[in-house]
């Protein structure tokens, strides 16, 4: 009974994610795309919850839905004349693309079937992941944690460069 | 035998002296760039002296070929040496120089021809410093090829010649120099690439035991590659008469055949010869072509005797095609220089036929033919150069009756032409006769067919002589000057060598006899 309920919830979130992601890609209206992205992120957060990854789920909601997406929506809304813009969504080389994507999906599906998956019992799943992630970030993973700040720094420099007025030739 | 100066062996001096000269030229001030000629002349003169010392001191009883003991004036040092690695064993590439009866004639030839070529370049005006530094670099490469006994070293020298030659043709050449230079480069590089692959395969197949540490290691030593016992079991080239050995031999053969040049890989030669300046044509025909033949007897035959025997008939057949095809093409030429170029193709065919005889007469004939052809064609190219310098044309149809106008010059032309067509009493005859005699024992019908090449050669040579030097002189050439002292200095020594070796070839023969015998024995055993 429990597992069935679990399955229903899983498929619900999965469908929400996939359909809204499809709209993001195929919609010709940028505002509609931006709004469906909310549902994609939301669905993914739901999947994280189902996987008992509570910290990641919350982070997903905070960072993506709460932060990035809002920023994105502001950007879309504040930019002039963008809401009526028709975007090109045609594919340049459909046949090649279909072959490549199909083979990638085929390989992945094949692996999903071939692999002997390990089944975890409920007792193995930690109750809360936030604490152990926090610990790992300042002990074993302190170097990557610090290095990420460098990436952010570069990203900021890049953004500043884009935003800067083009300098006149001296 | 050892001969050193400042603790450096004579072969190293011989090979790297031009590089010293090149450095001197680099530091010459632009105003004194004419000095470059004298520096180059000095280098080649010293080389000529060194070659003479080698000729005098050379022990004619030692065979060499595949025995280290038989090699003379040896110099062995580790060059690229990387200590034991877990997966690969010790890597060592040696600086291994040495000469035997197969290389001494070539060294003499190179020294003589280089000297002549410097004189032939005397009139170069366009960036003198560049020309002569490239010339010296080329010189190093040529001597290096003839003295190196480590395959890797040999390959480095082989490739080293490519760059200066490319520039010498491309910058100082005639109208279509760009095409000729690139064609030369690509053809030769294709050949070297094949040689490189075979070299790699040989390297991984051959192991020797290090004398000091007792460690097993791969080697590039050519002499070690000639010993079938050194091939590791189950390695690519192990055994005799295997599929891979045949392939390796063919690759090596094509690599050398391009330089030789053998039909159907000969098409770079007429272009390169025609476009190159006189001195460079002299070197091309006099020395570079010989490297192909030298490579065959020094590397291809002793390392793959089984494959050589297996393919001896096709090789002889290619030699036959070269002789006849080259002669026919020569006959059809309107350009004097191109005619000489094709005559080279024809004469190098005799070398191949002689080698394919796989007996002493044939081989000796082939080796001697390489030397003689070197001197004779050098002379022919200088002859064309002399004419071109004065008239700026090479079309045979524009000439006639030069005999009366330039008597001294024409006398030398007669010697060169008759030597080329194999008149008894001149050097060409002896080597051709030896080659055909040797080949007749192994390939009767092919040899008989090939002798038709001699008739054809006589035909085009005499016909050309008649068209250019006999008959009536066109009016525009009324003011032609006879040959200058510098030009005499180039042609007379060559003429003397040609006549001398035609009457008394023994000095040359005894140089190579022991080694050639050893080589033939080696090949026959298989």
């Amino acid at each position: 009974m429990f597992l069935q309920l679990f399955d229903i919830i899983f498929y619900f979130f999965a469908t929400v994610t996939l359909i809204s992601a499809g709209i993001v890609v195929f919609s010709k209206n940028i505002v509609r795309s931006a709004f469906s992205l909310v549902f994609t992120f939301f669905g993914i957060a739901g999947l994280y919850v189902l996987l008992n990854a509570d910290f990641v789920a919350v982070a997903q909601l905070f960072v993506y839905v709460g932060g990035i997406l809002v920023l994105l929506l502001f950007a879309v809304m504040l930019t002039q004349k963008i809401s009526n813009l028709q975007m090109k969504i045609t594919t340049l080389h459909p046949i090649i693309a279909i072959i490549l994507v199909a083979s990638l999906i085929g390989v992945l599906c094949g692996i999903v079937r071939m692999n002997d998956w390990r089944i975890i019992t409920i007792s193995e799943i930690p109750q809360s992941t936030a604490q152990s992630i926090g610990k790992a970030l300042i002990t074993t993973h302190i170097l990557p944690f610090e290095i990420i700040s460098v990436i952010l720094l570069v990203a900021i420099i890049g953004a500043a460069m884009l935003a800067r007025k083009s300098e006149k030739k001296s | 035998m050892q001969f050193t100066f400042l603790n450096i062996g004579i072969l190293t001096w011989l090979t790297f002296l031009p590089l010293v000269g090149m450095l001197c030229i680099f530091f010459l001030p632009q105003k004194k760039s004419q000095l470059a000629k004298w520096i180059t002349l000095g280098c080649t003169t010293i080389q000529l002296l060194l070659a003479t010392i080698i000729y005098i001191k050379f022990d004619r009883t030692l065979a060499g070929v595949n025995s280290i003991e038989g090699m003379q004036f040896k110099e062995i040092f580790p060059w690229i040496s990387i200590n034991s690695t877990e997966w690969f064993g010790k890597i060592s590439i040696q600086y291994f120089l040495g000469i035997d009866g197969l290389s001494v004639p070539m060294i003499l030839l190179t020294a003589i021809i280089s000297f002549i070529a410097v004189l032939a370049s005397w009139k170069i005006e366009k960036s003198v410093k560049g020309y002569f530094s490239l010339f010296l670099l080329l010189n190093t490469g040529m001597f290096g090829v003839f003295v190196a006994l480590d395959f890797f070293l040999f390959f480095i020298f082989w490739e080293l010649m490519l760059l200066p030659m490319y520039f010498l043709i491309g910058v100082w050449g005639g109208e279509r120099r760009e095409y000729a230079a690139v064609k030369f480069f690509l053809y030769t590089l294709f050949g070297s690439v094949l040689i490189l692959l075979v070299m790699l395969a040989l390297y991984f197949s051959v192991t020797v035991t290090d004398a000091i540490t007792g460690e097993k290691m791969h080697t590039f030593n050519m002499l070690a590659m000639m010993n079938p016992q050194n091939f590791e079991n189950n390695s690519l080239l192990f055994g005799l008469h295997t599929y891979w050995r045949y392939i390796a031999f063919i690759a090596l053969f094509i690599g050398f055949a391009i330089k030789l040049p053998l039909f159907p890989f000969h098409t770079w030669l007429p272009d390169a010869h025609v476009e190159a300046p006189t001195a460079i044509s002299v070197i091309l025909a006099g020395i570079l072509l010989k490297m192909g033949g030298y490579g065959l007897v020094r590397i291809a035959l002793p390392i793959f005797p089984d494959a050589a025997i297996h393919y001896v008939y096709p090789i002889a057949f290619l030699g036959f095609i070269n002789i006849v095809y080259g002669a026919l093409c020569a006959m059809a030429q309107k350009d004097f220089k191109k005619l000489i170029a094709y005559s080279s193709v024809s004469h190098m065919g005799i070398v191949v036929l002689g080698i394919a005889a796989l007996n002493t007469q044939g081989m000796v004939g082939a080796m001697l033919q390489m030397f003689n052809h070197g001197t004779i064609t050098a002379m022919l190219f200088v002859i064309v150069g002399v004419l071109y310098d004065r008239t700026h044309t090479r079309q045979i149809s524009e000439f006639g009756g030069l005999m009366n106008k330039m008597p001294k010059y024409s006398a030398l032309v007669v010697i060169a032409f008759f030597a080329s067509l194999g008149l008894p009493g001149l050097s060409g005859f002896i080597s051709e006769a030896f080659s055909f005699l040797g080949a007749f024992q192994t390939h009767q019908w092919l040899t008989i067919a090939s002798t038709s090449g001699i008739v054809l050669t006589a035909a085009y040579m005499l016909w050309t002589f008649q068209r250019v030097y006999l008959g009536t002189l066109p009016e525009k050439w009324n003011s032609l000057q006879d040959i200058s002292k510098r030009e005499l200095l180039m042609l007379v020594p060559l003429a003397i060598i040609i006549i001398f070796l035609g009457i008394y070839p023994t000095p040359m023969l005894e140089l190579m006899n022991t080694s050639v015998n050893a080589l033939v024995e080696m090949v026959k055993v298989k």
């Binding site: 692999n115 570069v154 | 990387i82 200590n83 997966w87 690969f88 760059l163 520039f167 491309g170």
Partner: protein
């Protein structure tokens, strides 16, 4: 609780110095109004210090920060290579930027940060560090590629590079996730101890995806599309950095990722690498023939050279790895030389880049022309230049592990490549010049190009100098 020790800090000293240096440069840029010279010299001093630190850490052999990064040996060796490349790019850029009027701020800072990313990649013992290193380097490159903002090519280069790079990152991450899924760790050393899981399909799929990610970064066919446009659209000195440092860094972590867990004993994966290599050599060299712009030509040549280096990986032997490392050095030196000369010769606003513009350079600027020819011959792989020894090593490794067909393709395609490398030489020496403009040769740039050429020559004649060091690295 101790999270890290003093030894960790000492071990990663070169990295820390470079990070510190980049922050200092950023501050200097912000504090002083006209800080060009100051930033330039402080950057060079910083990198020289980092080289000194790398020499100091070279004899060490350890890991730091809970097995996250390698210390000493391999890492230090590559650090020195990247820093040297960085210094040379600095020297080339100074006058070049002046000439092109692109003296925007942060240029030098971004170069230093990208080098820190490369250093991370070469010292990573963990897939996460590889990923972060690649990201730092790539983000810097995205920005640097877009420096010609006013120009269409500049924008095209940056956007194309960014989109495809992000795509590649996706593959890389997916691969890392799958590997983590099977192994329960991202640490390469721990992965290598878990032999049971090596045949796991999920694990192999992970490596396959990782391979795709890496192939993007080294521009191997069929993931090479970005290279020509990006190389052409970026500033020449930036292209020099991308094609040398970027490639060397990608290969350094490629070797680490594929040789530490010895997944290279998997024959299928090796075969895939061999095919990628053959395709890169063929397509890179054949397309190289058709180019008219020297920067595009070098882009295709860099694709082909990625193919040559993959030969070493496909062979999966120690000899192959050593060959790649040697090749990276010789290739980096050669390309720095070539791009350096191009940057000296390039006109304001990107003129003088087609083959025709090089006509007669041999008589106009004999030294530049001679050095460029030297670089071209080294790229062809003609002795006695370093390129020959490198190619020789790689093809030897292929023959040794029974991949003779790959060696044959390699040798034949490098024969094809001769044609387009020689074209430049033909134009420089055999054609007459159409232009009579004076070319100004800045002394800093010339000095660095001469230095690089001497390196090509010395490593070509005495390769043991560096090979004896290389072969003790892995």
């Amino acid at each position: 609780m101790e999270f890290f020790s003093k030894a960790d800090l000492i071990g990663t000293l070169p990295l820390l110095v470079v990070f510190g240096c980049s922050l200092l440069l950023l501050l200097l840029d912000a504090l002083f109004k006209d800080a060009k010279k100051l930033v330039f010299s402080v950057g060079i001093i910083g990198m020289l210090t980092a080289i000194g630190c790398s020499l100091y850490t070279f004899p060490l052999s350890a890991t730091a920060f809970s097995d996250m990064v390698l210390v000493g040996g391999y890492a230090s060796f590559f650090n020195i290579l990247f820093l040297t490349i960085g210094i040379i790019v600095f020297l080339l850029s100074y006058s070049y930027l002046e000439k092109q009027h692109y003296h925007l701020k942060e240029f030098y800072t971004l170069i230093v940060i990208s080098i820190s990313g490369m250093m991370l990649m070469a010292s990573s013992a963990d897939l996460i560090i590889i990923f972060l290193g690649i990201e730092i380097m790539s983000v810097c490159f995205y920005v640097l590629a877009g420096y010609k903002r006013i120009k269409v090519e500049g924008n095209e280069a940056a956007l194309k590079y960014f989109l495809l790079g992000a795509f590649a990152t996706g593959f890389l991450l997916y691969g890392i996730a799958l590997i983590y899924g099977t192994m329960g760790t991202t640490n390469l050393i721990r992965i290598s101890q878990n032999f049971d899981a090596f045949s796991h399909p999920l694990y192999l799929a992970g490596w396959g995806l990782l391979l795709i990610g890496f192939s993007f970064k080294i521009a191997a066919v069929p993931f090479h599309m970005w290279a020509p446009d990006v190389y052409e659209g970026s500033l020449t000195t930036v292209t020099a950095l991308m094609s040398t440092g970027g490639k060397a860094a990608a290969f350094s972590s490629f070797i680490l990722a594929f040789s530490i867990p010895l997944s290279m004993h998997n024959e299928k994966l090796m075969m895939v690498i061999a095919i990628l290599s053959a395709a890169s050599m063929l397509i890179g060299n054949v397309f190289g023939l058709a180019q008219k712009n020297i920067k595009r030509m070098l882009a295709y040549s860099s694709i082909a050279h990625a193919g040559y280096m993959l030969v070493g990986l496909a062979s999966g032997t120690k000899l192959g790895m050593d060959g790649i490392i040697f090749y990276l050095i010789s290739y980096s030196l050669t390309n720095l030389g070539a791009f350096g000369i191009i940057s000296i010769f390039e006109k304001e606003n990107g003129g003088n880049l087609s083959y025709e513009d090089y006509a007669g350079l041999g008589s106009r600027k004999p030294i530049l022309a001679a050095l460029l020819s030297l670089c071209m011959f080294s790229l062809v792989g003609i002795p006695p230049f370093a390129g020959f020894i490198g190619k020789y090593y790689l093809f030897a490794s292929a023959v040794q592990s029974n991949l003779t067909w790959l060696a044959i393709i390699g040798v034949m395609t490098s024969l094809v490549s001769t044609y387009y490398y020689l074209r430049i030489v033909v134009y420089m020496y055999f054609r007459e010049s159409q232009q009579s403009e004076l070319i100004f040769v800045p002394s800093l740039a010339l000095a660095s190009v001469v230095l690089v050429s001497i390196g090509i020559f010395i490593f070509g004649i005495f390769p043991s100098l560096i090979l004896n060091v290389i072969q003790n690295l892995l």
